[in-house]
């Protein structure tokens, strides 16, 4: 599973020095069946079989969709899919009648029988909201040809939780904001962002901690606005945040270049030499390294590589790659080994070749 390509971890994307990934998620339900939380096992099986059948005939630029029942996966494999953001921690918890439809490049991942019958997800590298929405909407249309979605003219697409009703859309961008954090402006920024109706969360969504200066911004309101308006709101806020982060980076470079350079190379030094690394420490060092790449202080490391390292730093990913359960001490040891191996001697000082 880990050898398989995963688009946001393989390909470069727009604005990737600050934006790790873009996600569009659409919540949909089959009209005649109860929502997953109250559904009986036979209802859930019915949903899975209808979705599977519908997907058989779906064609698109993404290639053929493959249905993966969660029952066929071990706990570690499920967890490593969570680490790659393909499925939610909630879906990974239960296996019976749960599944995920994946495209070959894994830019599409449709969760089946999570909180809603379908959670259509598009995951792309960098800031790419329009393309993500276009793909999600196209897949939605394709499903609609054979599935009858719960929809009312008044309330729109009907969802298990009223916080998702209407468009059923959650658009989110994952941003790396080390400079805004260093100049102590992050609190104000979060305040401002929530004022305009966006939620700020940690790397793995709802209820997760902010680590490595990575924040997830997403819309809260799903009803009474069009998808285009919701996406435009996220785009314009993200644009402003990018500008502020760039500005803060400029300030840091102007006022404290030596200190920043020192910090970046210390991070690189530890990441390439350490024998024990906790998730927390790895994430904070990777944040410094990514900043260094963004500022042009260190070269030879690509953004997809940096994204992969962020995933590798997660506890579940280490166990997934090693294909066995590890206690926390072993995890920290293998994490350090994996990061050393992946970072290798790829980095080089800028200007070395002059």
């Amino acid at each position: 599973m880990d050898k398989k390509a995963c688009k946001w971890l393989e390909d470069p994307g727009p604005q990737q020095e600050i934006v790790l990934s873009t996600r569009i998620r659409l919540a949909r339900n089959i009209a005649t069946l109860p929502f997953p939380q109250v559904a009986k096992p036979q209802d859930l099986a019915q949903v899975a079989s209808q979705v599977r059948q519908s997907a058989e005939n779906i064609q698109g630029p993404w290639g053929k969709l493959h249905y993966q029942p969660l029952e066929e996966l071990g706990v570690l494999q499920r967890k490593s899919m969570v680490a790659k953001h393909l499925i939610s921690p909630q879906l990974a918890q239960e296996a019976e009648n749960r599944g995920v439809l994946l495209s070959p490049e894994q830019e599409l991942a449709v969760m089946v029988n999570e909180e809603d019958h379908l959670r259509i997800q598009v995951l792309l590298p960098g800031l790419d909201l329009d393309r993500a929405w276009a793909l999600a909407s196209q897949l939605d249309d394709s499903f609609e040809e054979s599935l009858d979605f719960a929809f009312s003219e008044e309330h729109g697409y009907l969802t298990a939780c009223p916080t998702n009703v209407g468009t059923g859309i959650r658009a989110s961008v994952m941003v790396h904001l080390p400079a805004i954090t260093m100049v102590n402006q992050i609190k104000q920024l979060i305040h401002g962002v929530t004022q305009v109706g966006l939620a700020v969360r940690g790397l793995y969504g709802e209820g997760t901690e902010v680590v490595g200066n990575i924040y997830q911004l997403s819309n809260q309101v799903t009803l009474g606005r069009t998808e285009a308006e919701i996406i435009e709101n996220i785009r314009s806020v993200t644009g402003q945040i990018l500008e502020q982060e760039q500005q803060a980076r400029g300030v840091l470079l102007g006022n404290a270049k030596a200190q920043i350079e020192d910090r970046v190379y210390r991070a690189y030094g530890i990441l390439t030499q350490a024998r024990i690394l906790s998730t927390q420490e790895a994430m904070s060092l990777l944040s410094d390294l990514r900043l260094g790449v963004g500022l042009g202080l260190i070269g030879g490391i690509s953004y997809p590589q940096l994204n992969q390292l962020v995933v590798t730093a997660q506890p579940s990913a280490v166990q997934g790659i090693m294909e066995r359960e590890l206690d926390p001490q072993q995890r920290d040891y293998y994490r350090a080994a994996l990061i050393r191996e992946r970072l290798g001697d790829k980095a080089r000082e800028k200007g070395e070749n002059k």
Partner: protein, 175 residues
């Protein structure tokens, strides 16, 4: 320095607040700061929806403390869910619940979204009818504006257009 609140433990949290240009300083131990919610910054980021949602319900309950469950609240949807179940679960049971509990849900939707009517994407199956309805709605709005500006000629034109579309809509519904 000792904590200003409990005066027992050493102060380790030093806060400077500026509210309306009034600067106040506080020196607290971590425990007291936590209790007072002064360390809440990281906690604030994580907005937990089920909790927030039950907050919406609490507000309801707050206003009807004494009221016994109404007939609507005891009513069950065809999926077996009652409005009270929804309150506890934070989730609806099926698509019919939106109709069954429509009256109770709309105020909740208004609080969550600030709106109660969908304006976004429509499944192709519903498209023809709904786009006609939306067009008629926007023409009616235009008609009101035109009338208030006393542009009667334009108003007559709009009125005819609306009549035409309404006829078309009737045909769609029958067909």
């Amino acid at each position: 320095m000792m904590c200003e609140e409990c005066k027992k433990r050493p102060a380790s949290v030093h806060l400077t607040k500026i509210v309306n240009n009034q600067k106040t300083e506080m020196h607290l131990c971590e425990q007291c700061a936590q209790e007072r919610g002064e360390l809440g910054f990281m906690g604030n980021i994580q907005i937990n929806f089920p909790n927030l949602l039950s907050g919406f319900f609490d507000l309801d309950q707050h206003f009807n403390v004494e009221a016994p469950p109404t007939k609507e609240e005891q009513e069950r949807c065809s999926c077996g869910l009652s409005f009270n179940d929804f309150r506890e679960l934070g989730q609806l049971g099926c698509s019919s619940c939106y109709r069954t509990f429509g009256q109770q849900i709309d105020p909740i939707l208004r609080r969550i979204h600030g709106h109660t009517r969908h304006t976004g994407k429509v499944p192709r199956k519903h498209e023809g009818k709904l786009s006609l309805q939306r067009k008629i709605q926007s023409l009616r709005q235009e008609l009101n504006e035109v009338v208030s500006r006393e542009e009667y000629e334009k108003a007559a034109q709009l009125r005819d257009e609306i009549h035409g579309l309404e006829k078309e809509l009737g045909g769609e519904q029958n067909g």
